[in-house]
């Protein structure tokens, strides 16, 4: 085992349609915020970890070079980590490795996206191999609707029940977003509005899908020595897990989903968690689609396979429930993709340090954060605690 690692601060931009700033200026907002929150200077950091979606979504290749100035990276080592939708959690894990290994004491970790500038779903198709599968991938919604259908057929969950649970998740999270000052889409919704919204890819409807957001998130990962020196409050990394699958969509099982199950198990083992639903106080589950959030509850062992809809309808994962999931509104309401996973980690850190404001889960001490990337190919998890 390496050295203990603490997250000593985070900075987020207000996420949304951000044509009021250019891309480097957007990244600067998040970096400035975390430096100000913690009270450190660029000279204090040992290195920078940065990531986004693939260059094709950024419009500029090698963004970590383009953003060297705003990342305060001049004269420092810089690492780029890029794993599609899971980039943010990969960034956090990269920062964690750097500090836990003893090679650095203070690392700036930043993720960003300016999705409104490009064509995100066209970019997503370029993630797919050019020979066999690219022609048929209808962006992310196509992949996720196939996955959700396989899941409901496999466990014999009636279509109406899946719809009802997805609708509950959609209404709750769009409500939750009102309590999160950084969230993009804040909307009061009725069941009718969600159930009858326009179809994106059947059975996925408009309010089941995350938005196209611009935003950035910056965090500081510190050694114990540095945390004691600098931090008023620290969230400690208790467990990390990251797991991938073979490449071809159609080869592996995306329902009893090996990478999601394994990433969670690795993180639980490291954190000493046996009963996640009981032991975790809050979870920031990556939920670009309502249906996928339900599947993650099952893959992460929050409940048995086939049970997520029933428990969701009983309110187990709601704000006041046994294990509140995505009290920030989650990815469903805010999705600057390259930052999204890091926002999950930042939200988990805010929760366990009691700084989540209006969406604070009272007394939260142990939080899970998660993101997924590629064509349903990778899952990453980081568990944070209030104690070392």
């Amino acid at each position: 085992m390496g050295r203990p690692v603490a997250i000593i601060g985070s900075g987020q931009t207000v996420h949304g349609k951000r044509f009021d700033v250019n891309y480097p200026e957007l990244v600067n907002e998040a970096v400035e915020a975390v430096f100000k929150a913690v009270g450190v200077e660029p000279r204090d950091i040992d290195g920078v970890v940065f990531g986004t979606m693939p260059s094709m979504m950024e419009g500029v290749a090698l963004t970590h070079f383009y953003f060297a100035d705003v990342l305060r990276a001049v004269g420092k080592p810089i690492l780029k980590t890029e794993t599609c939708g899971s980039t943010g959690v990969s960034l956090a894990i990269t920062g964690y490795y750097w500090v836990t290994s003893g090679m650095a004491d203070l690392v700036l970790v930043v993720g960003s996206e300016k999705m409104n500038e490009g064509d995100s779903q066209a970019t997503m198709t370029t993630v797919v191999d050019p020979f066999y599968q690219r022609y048929f991938i209808a962006g992310a919604p196509g992949i996720f609707s196939m996955q959700s259908q396989e899941w409901s057929v496999r466990f014999g969950i009636p279509e109406e029940k899946v719809r009802a649970a997805a609708t509950r998740i959609s209404i709750d999270h769009h409500n939750d977003a009102f309590n999160n000052p950084f969230a993009h889409i804040k909307q009061r919704l009725t069941e009718d509005q969600v159930n009858n919204a326009r179809i994106i890819t059947y059975p996925v409807r408009l309010w089941d899908v995350c938005p196209t957001s611009d935003g950035a998130c910056a965090m500081l990962f510190a050694s114990e020595k540095m945390a004691k020196k600098l931090a008023k409050k620290a969230a400690w990394v208790k467990g990390v897990g990251y797991s991938g699958e073979e490449y071809w969509f159609g080869d592996s099982d995306k329902v009893v989903w090996q990478s999601a199950i394994q990433a969670a198990q690795q993180a639980y083992d490291m954190a000493g968690i046996r009963n996640p639903r009981k032991e975790l106080d809050v979870a920031e589950v990556y939920n670009p689609f309502t249906f996928q959030e339900l599947l993650y509850y099952e893959c992460f062992g929050f409940c048995e396979f086939g049970q997520a809809c029933d428990l969701t309808l009983k309110g187990v994962f709601a704000r006041e429930g046994e294990l509140p999931c995505d009290p920030s509104g989650g990815t469903l309401c805010t999705n600057p993709i390259g930052a999204t996973g890091l926002v999950r980690v930042a939200e988990a850190a805010l929760q366990v340090t009691g700084q989540a404001g209006a969406h604070q889960i009272p007394g939260a001490k142990l939080a899970l954060s998660h993101a997924m990337g590629g064509v349903d190919q990778y899952n990453g998890i980081m568990i944070l605690g209030s104690e070392k």
Binding site: Q121, A122, A138, V153
Partner: protein
């Protein structure tokens, strides 16, 4: 100041993907109206489209077999939105199809009368390939799959 300028730009870059021997052989099969897979010598699973390494055993697969152009529907997604640069125009139905004789799923399209299809699409539906008259050695030599009457 509320109106901020944007700078429109389209990045277009030519690219030639070298297909290598396995994809080339699979493409040549398509040109002859055949779906070729290869078999893992270790786990004996058949993969279609053919690929160089077994994704599970990571060994070379050099035994080739022709599989049926019929199979069953595993999952599908109806898409009504056009993506920039997409060669397939919406509306279309993307589908995972388990071809008879294959041990993995094949990603392609379900086509035909989409209004009629809507009533039929479900896991287990039997489908068969509809080939284009003119074949170029390309995934779109198969126009789409349609339900077996």
């Amino acid at each position: 100041m509320k109106d901020f300028k944007t700078l429109p730009n389209v990045i277009r870059l030519p690219h030639k993907y070298g297909a290598g021997p396995v994809v080339t052989k699979f493409y040549n099969g398509l040109r002859e109206g055949k779906l070729l897979g290869n078999v893992c010598p270790k786990c004996r699973k058949t993969f279609v489209p053919a690929r160089s390494l077994c994704p599970e055993c990571l060994v070379k697969m050099d035994t080739w077999v022709e599989v049926s152009d019929q199979g069953v529907l595993v999952s599908w997604a109806y898409t009504d939105k056009e993506f920039f640069g997409s060669p397939v125009k919406p509306p279309f139905v993307t589908a995972l199809i388990k071809l008879d004789g294959a041990d993995c799923n094949f990603l392609h399209l379900i086509g035909g009368d989409l209004f009629e299809l809507k009533k039929k699409l479900k896991k287990g539906l039997k489908v068969k390939a509809v080939w284009n008259m003119e074949k170029k050695g390309h995934m779109l030599d198969i126009k789409y799959f349609e339900p077996v009457a």
